[in-house]
Amino acid sequence: MLVLIGSVVAQAEAWGPETEVGDLAAFDLAGDIPVMEGKVTLIDFWASWCAPCKAAFPEMENLYLKHKDAGFQVLAISLDQKAKMMDSFLKRQKPSFAIAHDTKQLLARSAEIQVMPSSFLVDKNGVVRYAHKGWHGDKSVKSLEKQIKTLLDE
């Protein structure tokens, strides 16, 4: 019975379209979390051991550089259990967008991440509008590009 109640409560918290992101500082994230109000934010959950997550990084960098002046930002949240692995990847990749580390995986648990990578496009009011599961190369880039433009124009 407790398991059933627990799963229902947990389902209600899973991130998806219409989810209000709220205060991410409550999840004990390490790193600087950018202010999301008034900006379109791509929140990406990744890990250094996940090949598709790493493949998405150069494209996210391109998208960030292309749209940052229009009010777009990226927050990449690492779910690595070993910070050393994360640092080693970041040292090589050198992304210019914001990086945070979900050290205790509290946010991942709360958002109920089912696929790595998972990313969420959040509008200027802090509400998730689009959810992406996995990384599908050009298909993902095109779809993100279109959605970012839609949210920036609002």
Binding site: A47, W49, A51, P52, M85, Q105, R109, Q114, V115, M116
Partner: protein, 77 residues
């Protein structure tokens, strides 16, 4: 004697239920697969051994292939 047996049976049943409730299946979430995605966990990390295994399988089973997995190799999606 009968009473002891009944008690013993009940204890066994309670013990079994307790073990069933508190043991067994633990779910590994996709974001917890860091250790499973490690290079040392790969069955094909030794190229020579992989070739030999494949050769032996082909010789014995008259079939080959079917060793790969889809996705990025991390089992994360």
């Amino acid at each position: 004697m009968k009473r002891i047996n009944a008690f013993s049976f009940r204890a066994w049943v309670i013990g079994a239920l307790f073990m069933a409730a508190f043991s067994g299946c633990a779910t590994v979430e996709p974001y917890q697969k860091g250790n499973l995605a490690d290079y040392t966990m790969r069955s094909d990390r030794d190229e020579l051994a992989s070739v030999m295994t494949s050769h032996i399988q082909f010789s014995r089973e008259a079939s080959t292939g079917g060793e790969g997995v889809g996705g990025g190799g991390c089992g994360c999606n």
